[in-house]
């Protein structure tokens, strides 16, 4: 019997497991901290006292999605807090798959919205990171698609990774 099979058996029964740092474990740690950190930063810029919520609401409206007011308000107020909760859980390594699922779903929606803006040839600011634009120009463009695509790849990796903790044997 191989050692991996033996380890799996121990995990499933909740008994003691080996604390071995693996490459995939380290990769998972890096991805979830980076992803969680970016979502926390993105959330902070949307929740920043004073201008954050209003600027985000303006950004959502600038996308000209034709949403009713209640939907715009819901998207404006709920999205940043979902980002906070999922970002924190990713960083803490708790419910990683659930958090990755949420983050991935958000990113799919963001990518769709950005694509629609590009297809409609609108000139709007992303609002993804509020006033910050760490990786892309503020104006929505292909760069934002690539940025979100990379983040989505990270979320999918965490979702499908066999173990999500740094300790490869003790997911």
């Amino acid at each position: 019997m191989s050692s991996s099979a033996s380890t799996a058996s121990m995990d499933s029964t909740g008994s003691r497991c080996e604390r071995t740092v693996t490459l995939s474990g380290v990769l998972s740690l890096v991805v979830r901290v980076a992803l969680g950190g970016m979502f926390l930063i993105a959330a902070w810029t949307k929740l920043e006292p004073g201008v954050g919520p209003q600027n985000f609401a303006d950004s959502v409206r600038a996308f000209k999605l034709g949403l009713p007011d209640w939907a715009t308000r819901a998207a404006t107020s709920i999205t940043p807090w979902v980002e906070v909760v999922s970002g924190l859980l990713l960083i803490l390594g708790i419910w990683v798959r659930g958090a990755s699922f949420v983050v991935g779903a958000l990113l799919v929606v963001f990518i769709a919205l950005i694509a629609s803006v590009l297809l409609r040839d609108l000139s709007v600011e992303c609002g993804c990171f509020g006033k910050l634009s760490p990786f892309c120009p503020k104006k929505v463009g292909v760069c934002n698609l690539i940025q979100n695509g990379v983040m989505l790849a990270g979320a999918v990796y965490l979702l499908l990774a066999p173990k999500t903790g740094i300790c490869g044997k003790c997911g």
């Binding site: 919520p53 209003q54 409206r61 709920i78 980002e83 999922s86 798959r97």
Partner: protein
């Protein structure tokens, strides 16, 4: 072997014990639902505590969407010069165009409207700590949405497709202001629609400024203007100090429209 034989002989009832893989995904979905629920609950509470305004027009479109000509800074014909009667400022500019003071430096629709009030141009005060040398202009990527740089304001000024509103006090206005600005402070709206709104065409861009930095008079005046049907409102983030420090034309004296 016995178990397998028993299961083979037992009629299938369509039920299958969830595999470990199924349980893993089911758990992930449950966790995701909880995360969404918690986020939504906090968000709903936050929305009650800090409601956002959806009727405001400040910042709902990017500067790139402004009328053609604002991006290049070239002088263009006045927007409504063929529609006399629609814009008092424009009409004043049109009628006074031939006699406009040399101090008016652009095709601003308000240009020339101050003829008779002896406009005086003031050069940037080099002794002022916020003058050209020491003033820290805010870069575009640091601005909140709906706010523009002094450079963008100057382009709009030169294009003649914008009205300027000074949201500061009368005393500050008289010490120096962007040429042909209409002074509208928050108090001007205390008794309903100010008569001076007749000087500001609603279809044109309105650019508001105050003392720059942390002053919020522009934002307050912008909100009031939105309430009166204005839809293209921008705020000069660095305000009048930025305009002055950039060395652009400054007019001194009382407002001609009071």
């Amino acid at each position: 072997m016995v178990d397998r034989a028993e299961s083979a002989s037992t009629p299938s009832v369509g039920f299958r014990e969830p595999s470990r893989r199924d349980r893993k995904w089911k758990r992930a979905f449950v966790h995701a639902a909880i995360i969404l629920g918690v986020g939504a609950a906090i968000g709903v509470v936050d929305a009650q505590l800090r409601p956002v305004k959806l009727n405001r027009t400040v910042g709902t479109f990017a500067i790139d969407e402004l009328p053609e000509g604002l991006s290049g800074g070239e002088r263009r014909p006045m927007a409504n010069s063929d529609e006399p009667g629609t814009n008092p400022l424009t009409n004043a500019a049109t009628s006074a165009a031939s006699t406009a003071s040399e101090t008016t430096t652009s095709a601003n629709p308000a240009a020339g409207a101050v003829v008779g009030s002896t406009p005086v141009l003031a050069a940037p005060d080099p002794a002022s700590p916020k003058s050209a040398g020491g003033f820290q202009f805010t870069p575009k990527d640091k601005l909140p949405s709906g706010q523009i740089t002094v450079i963008e304001a100057k382009r709009a000024f030169d294009s003649g497709q914008a009205s300027f509103v000074d949201a500061r006090t009368k005393a500050n206005y008289e010490l120096g202001h962007i040429p042909n600005s209409v002074r509208l402070e928050l108090a001007s709206f205390a008794e309903g629609e100010p008569a001076k709104l007749g000087l500001l065409p609603r279809e044109m861009m309105v650019i508001i400024y105050c003392a720059g930095g942390h002053c919020d008079e522009s934002e307050r005046v912008a909100e009031r203007l939105e309430g009166f049907g204005y839809s293209k409102i921008f705020i000069i983030h660095d305000g009048f100090p930025g305009w002055q420090a950039a060395g652009h034309a400054v007019e001194v004296g009382p407002e001609a429209f009071e």
